[in-house]
């Protein structure tokens, strides 16, 4: 099998350390401006959350019948973003996909930070955030346990497991690279990197156990990533609400998650690559590959959209039919059409080579897909709730500035975590890139 080279053709092993460590040096002024901007987002979000905690959940726009607003839209959105990280790091690892090597670390970091943001939203949504521990089963005098039959409780287990496993995968994957940093820096920085490197030396025995462990992590993370978004979808599908109660939800949500995640990888990779001069390691070919994954998942998502409408029509259930008519032509119809254009029609452009090899165009598409995928969750949650069986209970929901503010805060939090990570840790898996270049040059077989 001929092997495609995904790095700059003249890149040699000796340059990898220098290239990856470049971003860790003194940052430019623009970096501080960005950090200040993200912190201002977080502060505004924190102010909104503070208001909600002290004034009560009434400051958010949620009310009967729409008790699930954009907090849960954000939750599903962030969990979805998280998914492509595991896909790129674990599933593509198992498939021996060579292009994952220089983008897997960024995708993994994205997973960890996105799932951290996701985990906040159910707690914010619950209102009394100080009782968040009620979600966990713990022994108490009243013999009260959580309801293990509830999909909401499955969600607690799924998200906690996902957060833990993706963090472990991330940290273990970084161990050899942290050793590189430990050896290149002096003083306190070297000590801190040393803690994460855990005394890694890179002996043949360590590599042997490490490779086994990494493979096992990938093997565990792969079914996990599919289960997590399936469980998130069952939060909806397990209820008997028209528009939610559907068996297609699990695969529909999983492909949607990977779709939005791939879009977010492109959105983040583009500025990062420019900012930190990683052009030799992250090439146009990586963008093309990710966009192709985006195209594939976009087609699956589009198929799911159409299937939902087909089943509503074919099923002859008037509630289901009304629900879907309302989704497309009701009060929130404009969002439905925006979602359809962004998620189903725009990505079709990737079929054309001119578009999928043009990073700038891909960047724009990826941003619009992010918007489209956020709207998808909004459309599913809000339109279904706004009109269920009883016309007396129909209603309209408009998010307040508090809800938008908290969302903005989460965006700031995600980006701040990401930029800090890019500043202090290796954004590219050094040992994997070296391994790939080395094996290509010496003619060995390596994934």
């Amino acid at each position: 099998m001929s092997k495609e080279n995904y790095f700059a053709p003249d890149l040699i092993v000796d340059q990898v350390n220098a290239q990856v460590l470049e971003p860790l040096k003194k940052p430019s002024k623009l970096f501080y401006v960005m950090i200040a901007l993200f912190i201002s987002f977080i502060l505004f979000g924190a102010y909104c959350l503070y208001t909600q905690i002290f004034e009560g959940l009434g400051v958010a726009g949620m009310n009967n019948p729409i008790a699930w607003g954009i907090y849960l839209t954000n939750f599903v959105f962030w969990v979805g973003i998280a998914h492509s990280g595991t896909l790129i790091s674990a599933i593509l690892f198992l498939f021996r996909s060579r292009w994952r090597t220089s983008v897997n670390r960024i995708a993994e970091a994205m997973t960890v930070f996105a799932v951290t943001m996701a985990g906040l939203f159910p707690l914010i949504h619950l209102g009394r955030i100080w009782f968040a521990y009620w979600l966990l089963p713990y022994p108490n005098a009243r013999h009260l346990w959580v309801n293990f039959r509830s999909p909401l409780n499955w969600d607690v287990f799924a998200v906690v497991t996902y957060m833990t496993v993706s963090t472990l995968f991330f940290i273990v994957g970084m161990m050899p690279d942290m050793a590189v940093l430990r050896d290149r820096f002096k003083g306190i920085r070297s000590k801190i990197y040393g803690v994460f490197a855990m005394g890694w030396r890179g002996t043949h025995r360590q590599w042997h156990h490490y490779e086994t462990a990494y493979l096992l992590f990938a093997a565990l993370a792969t079914p996990l990533v599919i289960s997590v978004h399936s469980i998130v979808s069952w939060d909806f599908a397990m209820s008997s609400l028209p528009g939610w109660h559907s068996t297609i939800f699990a695969p529909y949500f999983v492909s949607g998650a990977i779709f939005s995640g791939c879009a977010m990888v492109i959105t983040i990779l583009y500025p990062l690559r420019k900012f930190f001069h990683l052009e030799d390691l992250i090439t146009e070919k990586h963008f093309t590959r990710i966009s192709q994954m985006m195209l594939l998942t976009s087609l699956i998502v589009t198929y799911s959209y159409l299937t939902e409408f087909f089943i509503a029509w074919y099923g002859h259930n008037i509630f289901e039919q009304e629900s879907f008519y309302n989704r497309a032509f009701g009060y929130y119809g404009i969002y439905f059409f925006m979602m359809f254009v962004f998620n189903s029609i725009l990505p079709l452009g990737i079929f054309f080579k001119k578009i999928r090899t043009n990073i700038k165009v891909l960047f724009v598409i990826s941003i619009l897909v992010n918007v489209g995928m956020w709207l998808e969750r909004f459309v599913i949650i809000i339109t279904s709730l706004s009109r269920d069986y009883d016309p007396y209970a129909w209603g309209i929901y408009k998010p307040t500035y508090i809800e938008w503010g908290i969302f903005l805060g989460s965006v700031g939090g995600f980006l701040l975590l990401f930029f800090s990570f890019a500043k202090f840790a290796p954004v590219v898996a050094i040992s994997e890139v070296k391994g790939q270049i080395h094996h290509d040059k010496t003619g060995g077989d390596h994934e």
């Binding site: 092993v13 000796d14 350390n17 089963p137 013999h143 009260l144 346990w145 293990f148 039959r149 499955w154 287990f157 799924a158 906690v160 497991t161 833990t164 496993v165 472990l168 995968f169 273990v172 161990m175 050899p176 050793a179 590189v180 430990r182 050896d183 290149r184 855990m198 005394g199 890694w200 030396r201 890179g202 002996t203 043949h204 025995r205 360590q206 590599w207 042997h208 156990h209 490779e211 086994t212 462990a213 096992l216 992590f217 565990l220 993370a221 079914p223 996990l224 289960s227 469980i231 050094i430 040992s431 994997e432 070296k434 391994g435 080395h438 094996h439 010496t442 060995g444 077989d445 390596h446």
Partner: protein, 180 residues
């Protein structure tokens, strides 16, 4: 004095020279050495075959443990206060499969980490059997031999870019203590 051990660190920038030296060294069965490289190397795996890593047993038993807890714990809680809801059985295995599956993965992953740390003997603080060039672009060996063998070893390592030797205070100079 001739029985005192000497630690040798040999550092290679040239891969071919490194592999040639490895071929000679790997044939000496009595030599307990660490082959250190900035990336995993298939040539090393071929020349020094190793048993399949024991990490997989940690993962396996961790997964089994998670699976058992994932079923046993929800069953215990529903029996602790049996409350029939929706006319369904109290012990609803179908619903608990999801908890069991998630805990299988969670415990499997946590035990994989423990297995890796155990077998790779991490975390460790002492990096005396190491050189910072190994995380750059250099390959090499670290091992200890009795002082009388030092010239023989230097002969084998003649193509090395750098050789660092130092006397070890103890006689049992086992270098790497990772599980093999």
């Amino acid at each position: 004095m001739n029985n005192a051990n000497v630690r040798i660190k040999a550092i290679y920038n040239n891969y071919e020279a490194f592999i040639n030296a490895l071929k000679v060294l790997s044939s000496k069965k009595e030599l307990d050495m660490d082959v250190i490289s900035p990336m995993p190397l298939h040539d090393v795996e071929k020349l020094i075959p190793q048993k399949p890593s024991g990490v997989r047993w940690f993962t396996f038993f961790g997964g089994i443990l998670g699976l058992i807890i994932g079923f046993a714990f929800p069953i215990y809680t529903v029996l602790d206060w049996p409350l029939i809801t929706g006319g369904k059985p109290v012990v609803t295995i179908q619903a608990f499969i999801i908890i069991a599956f998630e805990l299988l993965i969670l415990f499997g992953a946590a035990f994989t980490l423990l297995g890796l740390l155990f077998h790779a003997r991490l975390p460790r603080q002492n990096l005396s059997n190491y050189d910072v060039r190994f995380s750059g672009n250099s390959f090499g060996f670290v091992f200890s031999v009795p002082e009388r063998k030092i010239n023989e070893m230097k002969n084998i390592l003649q193509d090395a870019d750098d050789i660092i030797t130092d006397k070890l205070s103890t006689e049992s100079g086992r270098i790497g203590n990772e599980s093999r």
